[in-house]
Assembly symmetry: C2
Homo-oligomer: 329 residues x 2
DNA sequence: CTGTTAGCGCTTTCAC
DNA sequence: GTGAAAGCGCTAACAG
């Protein structure tokens, strides 16, 4: 593999000259540049990015760490992150934290391979994040709070969103309401459950714990949880699914058993993923400002990189989206 | 920022000893390892990944380059890639080629930052790929053929898939059939159009070029192309959308104008993205083996990395998925 | 403009 | 086991 040294030799110039030429430094004459470029082409030279990063100590790259890159939920978030990153002439790489604290993602957290990171991955431990964030390595976390001045928190108001959705259910006459939950280690899930519980409490509606089933935030989990509920023979009036994916899984389970939504059971979801608008019936849900969250996260990273003071935490609000999966009073 | 040197000093050992201890080399006594680890913890040491990669000349990482990370189409592909990569203990990073040959992606292609790459991005030039692939940097390209022995091609049979879908339209009595195309530089689009044309030819049906409109593979593009067609006042019997996203955009355009699918116009798509099953009416389309393509691509990369001989090209077949967007005869 | 040179932080011989 | 020392390939300060 050809190095810059080989290029310099072939072009008959000094090492530094070759480096300057290759990097477009003005000190070099056009003819020299041409010579160097030609030599590089002939040798099929490819620069070793690590070596130059090592020298520069800056990578111009930020990492986006997601618990599952292939989830539909992340699309819009990525878009927000991507656009702002590009507009700052930075590079973006995404990686999955599949495998938790033993995943690829940790390589980016533990070893200084990027200038900053945005994390939305419940399977990365808070401890790891706290250990990693530092002045020259700012982190924005999207799903929890972290005790480290260089780990900023951009959160959406899960609690209020869940409260609104639950209230909507109550106002439409539903009294026994179940909750299909996400993973127990998910802070988002916890907050949503709190909002849900708050609403129930405020309206003095008792919550029956047998109507709380875990669905793990996946479509399949929602499907299975719903099946289980159906098997219990005694369905609640309404179901709050902690995310849309699970609600869509639930929709399928109901449809297979001939149970009609919303005539027999009303359901609401959370997130407002793209599909939700298209399922039958269209899903009433709580919209998260995913694009905005992504954009704000990167923006914050850049501010911190520039040494500016930023708030420790940002709050984004949700929006209730009424469609047709809740029976009107 | 603490370096390994600082750690060694604090632990009172030599630089190399610290390195060995940190990397779990057996030469070091347990007590020494403990000492070093303690010092590292105290200094909040984080290793510089670049420096070690530079030394090792291997990154254990492969890159997945996509024209748009946020597209729904890529989800399953990513899943396939991800799982196989992880099973080989390799890391995976994804990056977008938004910006074409000037994007982040090129950094990974031009500078040796990863051990191999998988590309599905029509906006990356064939030339760049040809220049980049080499023995120690294998590339798998998913959407075109490339003249370089180290750039392998995993392709799905777009042509045959499109042929089948078109045939289905013809067999159900449709005679004037339009084609909503993807970007002109997309090889996939080209192949699909060929399959489409082949079918028309075989059944001796003329193709009217005014019924070929570009929709750029995006939902919005499909929407606009369809609007344009509607404005022309003279709709064809059926429309072949070169991908599902555009077809879904088209569905919306038709619905806004009160044109019924499939009663007034029949449509077929291509890809079989998740949404296609849920739209109204469910979209008849051609399913691509996305997961398999991703898995095969990584698998091939690993074979090449291991120095094994591999075929220059692999073919995966498509599957026709009949749903309800085509009027039966 | 060009060439010499000193590292960036780490791994890894090789001698002790 | 341990420590000194030689670079990996590149950039950039410095002196011509």
């Amino acid at each position: 593999m050809a190095t810059i040294k080989d290029v310099a030799k072939r072009a008959g110039v000094a090492l530094s000259t070759a480096s300057y030429a290759l990097n477009g430094n003005q000190k070099v004459s056009a003819s020299t540049i041409e010579k160097v470029l030609k030599a590089a082409r002939e040798l099929n030279y490819q620069k070793n990015g690590f070596a130059s990063d090592l020298k520069r100590t800056k990578t111009n790259t930020i990492a986006l760490i997601l618990s599952d890159m292939s989830g539909p939920y992340f699309s819009e978030l990525i878009k927000g992150v991507q656009e702002v990153t590009a507009s700052h002439q930075y590079d973006l790489i995404a990686c999955s934290s599949l495998g938790g604290d033993r995943s690829t993602a940790t390589k980016f957290l533990r070893e200084k391979r990027v200038d900053g990171a945005i994390i939305l991955a419940n399977n990365i431990s808070t401890q790891l994040i706290e250990e990693s964030a530092r002045e020259d390595f700012p982190i924005v976390v999207l799903d929890r709070e972290v005790q480290n001045p260089f780990a900023i928190h951009v959160k959406v108001d899960n609690r209020h969103g869940a409260y609104q959705a639950t209230e909507h259910l109550i106002e439409n006459g539903h009294r026994t309401i179940g909750y299909i939950s996400g993973p127990h280690d998910s802070h988002d899930n916890e907050e949503r459950f709190k909002g849900f519980s708050d609403a129930l409490k405020d309206y003095e509606i008792p919550f029956q714990s047998r109507f709380k089933i875990s669905g793990n935030f996946t479509r399949d989990g929602g499907y299975r949880a719903t099946k289980m509920l159906i098997a219990q023979q005694q369905l609640p009036d309404a179901l709050f699914y902690a995310n849309d994916e699970m609600a869509i899984g639930g929709l399928q389970a109901f449809s297979e058993k001939g149970i009609s939504i919303p005539d027999d059971v009303s359901i609401v979801g959370f997130d407002d993923i793209q599909l939700s608008e298209y399922v039958n019936p269209p899903l009433t849900t709580v919209k998260q400002p995913k694009y905005e969250a992504g954009a704000l996260a990167v923006h914050t990273i850049f501010q911190m990189l520039a040494g500016e003071q930023v708030d420790q935490s940002f709050d984004l609000s949700t929006e209730f989206v009424k469609r047709s999966s809740v029976r009107s009073k």
